[in-house]
Symmetry: C2
Subunit: 211 residues, 2 copies
């Protein structure tokens, strides 16, 4: 629950005033997001690939096929980074230079740990389904032994995480406030559409999708 | 305008049927997105950091402060990756195992090229503002010489890019279609909120923000 940077390399440098390090802020962003980007290196080339994730306490869980290059790479202890970014809006300043984005991002540095114990793996997969759709894990059929084997789960500890947040109106150069140009924020958010029932499904819409 | 992978390392491997390589698809995703994630390596640690970007023809432009570690790192020709992901919805299958996300992502591999020529730099910054908000560049005050110097612009060619797309309903195991569990898609999209005028602004809302 520290509010100071956990390490030098996890310290926000540019616009350090936007940096945060408390777990409450970190957890809130991770729990609100759905997809993050995993950075890792394979054959001297860095990659950023989108992945589902879920937080459970002090751990972030990622999953995928044991056949994937990605999971194989991160499960062996190589340095990685997982970043979750929520875009909250566009910031329109009076000058082009001061245009910006309101956002909240978490950057986690660390190494993956493959989850092999059956109980922890089941718990992690349950957490992943619940993160995608709260309430869903009690409806969907749980994993078979074969499916458990066909899923690799990697945990990433939240020990070395930082947050960067921008909120509020534009900050223009003092002399630009006289310009007759509209300035402010255009909020953006993720909106749910109308659920689309699988053509092969005759079951009713569950409560967690209604409304 | 190739529809075949531009390189081995830029070839989609897992679920290769979801891979696309044509420029029309690449451009459409890049033009719809707002923020991407840049993967780069600094002192043996990979990072994924969120960044605004804009496409102009065959180039992607990134910008930032010349003082930032990030821009300095990517302007010197080090290998990098820029990824843009659009999350289109949650896919709820009858089994936990087959839950998924509908998404469209572009992964670009390459090296940064710092834009130093004044004309190209101005054009790139204009493109960035127009990408954030079409129509905005004719309202906002353009960059001063000092601001131009305080901005570093890096171009990334789209030569080595790949797309991965998932659409449609869940694909369940054959025997699971008999289960009495709702299955389908919950579409997600980015919605604009009501513009918030800067408290220090008395100018009227521009047309491109109305409605």
């Amino acid at each position: 629950m520290t509010a100071t940077p956990p390490s030098t390399r996890a310290t926000v440098r540019r616009r350090a005033g936007r940096g945060r390090y408390d777990r409450e802020t970190i957890d809130a962003i991770l729990d609100e997001g759905l997809v993050g980007h995993l950075a890792f290196v394979a054959e001297a080339q860095p990659y950023a690939l989108p992945m589902l994730y879920a937080r459970d306490g002090d751990q972030l869980y990622l999953h995928g096929s044991p056949l994937s290059r990605l999971l194989g790479t991160i499960a062996d202890g190589t340095p990685m980074c997982f970043t979750v970014t929520l875009v909250d809006g566009v910031v329109l300043a009076r000058s082009a230079f001061h245009h910006s984005i309101n956002y909240r991002s978490v950057v986690i540095l660390g190494q993956g740990r493959e989850i092999k114990a059956r109980t922890e793996k089941l718990q992690a997969l349950n957490t992943l389904v619940e993160h995608v759709m709260p309430g869903r894990s009690s409806d969907a059929r749980g994993p078979s032994e074969q499916e458990l084997e066909a899923t690799e789960v990697v945990a990433l500890a939240l020990d070395e995480a930082s947050v960067k947040i921008r909120t509020g109106p534009p900050i223009d150069a003092p002399e630009d406030y006289e310009l007759d140009v509209w300035a402010g924020e255009l909020p953006l958010k993720i909106a749910r559409g109308t659920p689309i029932t699988d053509p092969r499904c005759a079951s009713p819409l569950p409560d967690y999708l209604a409304g």
